[in-house]
């Protein structure tokens, strides 16, 4: 029977000293490491988490602002584009009206020129006719004068002379 009971299952008997030392050592671990390590680590981790959260929030805000700005830019751009189109249209209209005006003016001018030219031509023609008339008159007078002068010489001679004078007058 000695053999069987040699075994002393001592681990189920909590020794007073072991209880005492375990309590002391564990409380030391708790209070010392809690103050010197676990607390600061926890704080550092929390700070870092907060920093990350703040950074994320900031980034989100910045992104929102960016998108707002972008929208604003786009609206400005659209407005500008519209304005440009309007200006272009205006310019085109102005150009067209100017061209039309010019055309009308040119036509008028041309008509005026043509009219004045016609008047001039008429005038010139009249003047020329007057001159011709005058010249013919003068010539007729001259001829008449010369005939009159020749009549004094003879009939035959007079006729001949008159013909020669007529030949001379070539209405050029």
């Amino acid at each position: 029977m000695d053999f069987l009971f040699l075994a002393d299952f001592s681990v189920v008997k909590p020794g007073i000293g072991l209880l005492f030392w375990t309590s002391i050592i564990f409380l030391f671990v708790w209070f010392f490491l809690g103050r010197m390590a676990f607390g600061p680590i926890q704080k550092a981790l929390k700070d870092r988490e907060n920093t990350i959260q703040d950074s994320l929030d900031e980034a989100k805000q910045a992104r929102e602002e960016m998108s707002k700005l972008k929208a604003e830019n786009e609206s400005i751009l659209a407005q500008a584009r519209e304005e440009r189109a309007a200006i272009l249209k205006e310019a085109k209209d102005a150009k067209d009206s100017m061209i039309n005006e010019a055309k009308v003016k040119a036509k008028e001018e041309a008509q005026k020129i043509v009219a004045s030219a016609k008047v001039e031509i008429e005038n010139q023609k009249n003047a020329a006719m007057m001159e011709v008339k005058n010249k013919a008159g003068m010539m007729a007078l001259g001829i008449a004068e010369k005939i009159i002068k020749k009549q004094l010489i003879g009939d035959g001679e007079q006729e001949k002379f008159a013909n020669s004078l007529v030949d001379e007058i070539k209405l050029n």
């Binding site: 000695d2 040699l6 075994a7 299952f9 001592s10 681990v11 007073i16 671990v29 809690g34 680590i41």
Partner: protein, 428 residues
């Protein structure tokens, strides 16, 4: 080149193939050989231990696997390093019967290597007191126990001396109880706990320093490993169990519990000095931790918690009469279960490993049968390897469970009242 001719190339190829095969065979042989070598080394190293510690020295008694296992999982007043080399530890004893002040005996455990000292004697690594402290013993021949292992007797020169073990807090349930002296020594377990504390301080103080030094930077090295564990405990244990509002207050406590238990568990798995102490497999250690947990939970219990234990709201009075004792019992059963769970898991693991190693000596018939010892060695080493892996997992799991359950008890204690009160308010 001569062997480029077709006639010669065929034999050359076969030779090359042969060489290659041989290489594979050699490699196989090598691994088998190294395995055998491992067994042989294991066999001899364990056999030395067995001769040194199994049963009584030179007594010629057969190898007793149970006694060897019990001896190995027990606490001790000295640390067995290897062979006959022991690391002496400080022994602090107090016998109140001797009167205040004079009851203390403080010395090194090496004092007990030659018989008794100051009425105390070393029996299987534990300091015990002679029933008659006035006696001195020069040499111990053998130790015997009475039927319920309550009393031990040492034999010296054919004379029997009765021994008394140190006081224990089991209230006599397991054969202990208050005796004539208390042992406050730095035992093997206390030494290992101090070592574990030292390791924890080293690791966590350097981690905390890294946070201070590298503020605002990404974690690096040991810091990132510890951060993962810290966050694991915080996000999977403290925060969900205790609740968002209170968890920060208890995080250091939960961390201390987890890492203290974990490091002690792991040190118990190291089969040689400075490990091998069965710290968390000793009821004294788990009892101290459970008592601290109980105190923390009770101190932090709010009105809602105590109300639910003492006079559960929202149920008929006659149910309350039944429920209150159950709840009060539950208050104590919770830490009690923590204590038993950790202790039983770790002790069971140690006993299994020691039993498997013991197979070598059981099959070897105490050194008589080399073949049997070899067979036992093969089986023992195989299963021990397997068990060690299991124990590694158990170390983590038990530390985690202890921390998680403690957190959940704290969570129940600090929880704010909700549903019931509203329901009751509406009811009235």
């Amino acid at each position: 080149m001569a062997f480029k001719t077709p006639l010669l190339s065929v034999p050359l190829q076969s030779i090359l193939e042969n060489l290659q095969n041989q290489y594979i065979v050699n490699k196989l042989h090598k691994s088998v050989l190294s395995l055998i070598l491992l067994f042989v080394v294991a066999f001899f190293s364990f056999s030395n231990v067995a001769y040194a510690e199994g049963g009584d020295h030179n007594s010629g008694k057969p190898y007793d696997p149970v006694a060897t296992a019990m001896h190995h999982i027990a606490d001790a007043n000295e640390i067995h390093v290897f062979g006959d080399i022991h690391l002496p530890l400080p022994v602090i004893l107090y016998a109140p019967g001797e009167g205040v002040g004079s009851g203390w005996t403080i010395c090194s455990s090496s004092k007990f290597h030659h018989g008794s000292y100051n009425g105390y004697i070393m029996d299987h690594g534990r300091v015990k007191r002679l029933q008659d402290p006035a006696m001195t013993i020069e040499h111990i021949d053998s130790t015997t126990y009475n039927d319920d292992a309550k009393m031990a007797y040492v034999w010296s020169h054919d004379k029997k001396y009765q021994l008394e073990a140190a006081s224990t807090a089991d209230g006599g349930i397991f054969g202990g109880g208050i005796t004539s002296f208390y042992d406050f020594s730095i035992t093997k377990n206390v030494f290992t706990m101090l070592l574990a504390t030292f390791i924890l301080c080293l690791v966590f103080l350097s981690t905390a320093r890294a946070y201070k030094k590298r503020e605002g930077k990404a974690p690096k090295g040991l810091q990132s490993l510890m951060e993962t564990l810290f966050l694991f405990i915080r996000d999977n244990v403290s925060r969900p169990m205790i609740g968002e509002k209170h968890y920060e207050r208890f995080q250091p406590f939960i961390m201390s519990l987890f890492f203290f238990i974990l490091v002690c568990n792991l040190m118990g798995l190291i089969p040689f000095f400075p490990g091998s102490a069965n710290v968390t497999g000793n009821l004294g250690v788990t009892m101290a931790l459970a008592i601290i947990t109980f105190i923390v939970v009770s101190i932090n219990g709010n009105k809602h918690y105590w109300e639910h234990i003492l006079w559960m709201p929202g149920i008929p009075a006659w149910v309350k009469i039944i429920l209150t004792p159950v709840e009060i019992m539950g208050m104590f059963i919770k830490p009690f279960s923590l204590m038993i769970r950790l202790f039983a898991n770790i002790t069971a693991g140690h006993i299994i490993i020691l039993s498997l190693v013991g197979l070598i000596f059981v099959f070897g018939e105490n050194g008589q049968n080399m073949g049997g010892a070899f067979g036992g060695g093969v089986i023992g080493v195989m299963f021990t390897m397997f068990m060690n892996i299991i124990e590694l997992i158990v170390s983590f799991i038990q530390a985690f469970i202890f921390a998680t359950l403690t957190a959940s008890y704290i969570g129940a204690a600090v929880e704010e009242g909700h549903d019931h009160d509203h329901a009751e308010a509406e009811h009235h």
